[in-house]
Amino acid sequence: SAVISQKPSRDICQRGTSLTIQCQVDSQVTMMFWYRQQPGQSLTLIATANQGSEATYESGFVIDKFPISRPNLTFSTLTVSNMSPEDSSIYLCSGEGAQETQYFGPGTRLLVL
């Protein structure tokens, strides 16, 4: 199984600022994804992080708001830009390992004031 770490684990940010979340996988994975989980809700896919090319965004999510990088097969970042209180959520990255299993990081809990 893949072990995934995220930094920071939590943050409190001011409205209008940006936060970059890092995701590190301990082994090479073909696919990496970013999800958002709003309070008391399920997970919603933000985008697929593609290595060496632009991320593929889901409906309702745009690159200007959630720029994503994936410079290599084991690392990705998600930036939450120009934050508002509505962006308060848990942000999780995942990697697809062997046998199509997706493994998740511990999440980054974001509170925007």
Binding site: M31, S42, T44, I90, L92, Q99, Q102, Y103, F104, P106
Partner: protein
């Protein structure tokens, strides 16, 4: 849009009892995965069942898949207080030429009373 829909939404049982959670979905799938989440933490992968499989076991977990009914069930036997968590099913939809991605249900809150 959410593909998987679990039921019940909340389940409370006594330690030692079995817990059964169900998940229904709408489209053809490549596989279905069950996850556990403890109190707003990350997701722990429990089990993956492929569309050509009908039943899988892992320790105290038993998962079934009925593709004709587009449904799956997760059975936890001899439950423990530590099983208290939210459980999610997630489907990997079968789209020709597309990369895999998971669609999550709303989740089931399981409480196991000691």
């Amino acid at each position: 849009s959410q593909q998987g829909e679990e039921d019940p939404q909340a389940l409370s049982i006594q330690e030692g009892e079995n817990a059964t959670m169900n998940c229904s979905y709408k489209t053809s799938i490549n596989n279905l995965q069950w996850y556990r989440q403890n109190s707003g933490r990350g997701l722990v992968h429990l089990i993956l069942i492929r569309s050509n499989e009908r039943e899988k076991h892992s320790g105290r977990l038993r998962v079934t898949l009925d593709t004709s009914k587009k449904s799956s069930s997760l059975l936890i036997t001899a439950s423990r207080a530590a099983d208290t968590a939210s459980y999610f099913c997630a489907t990997d939809e079968k789209e020709t030429g597309a990369n895999s991605k998971l669609t999550f249900g709303k989740g089931i809150t399981l409480s196991v009373r000691p």
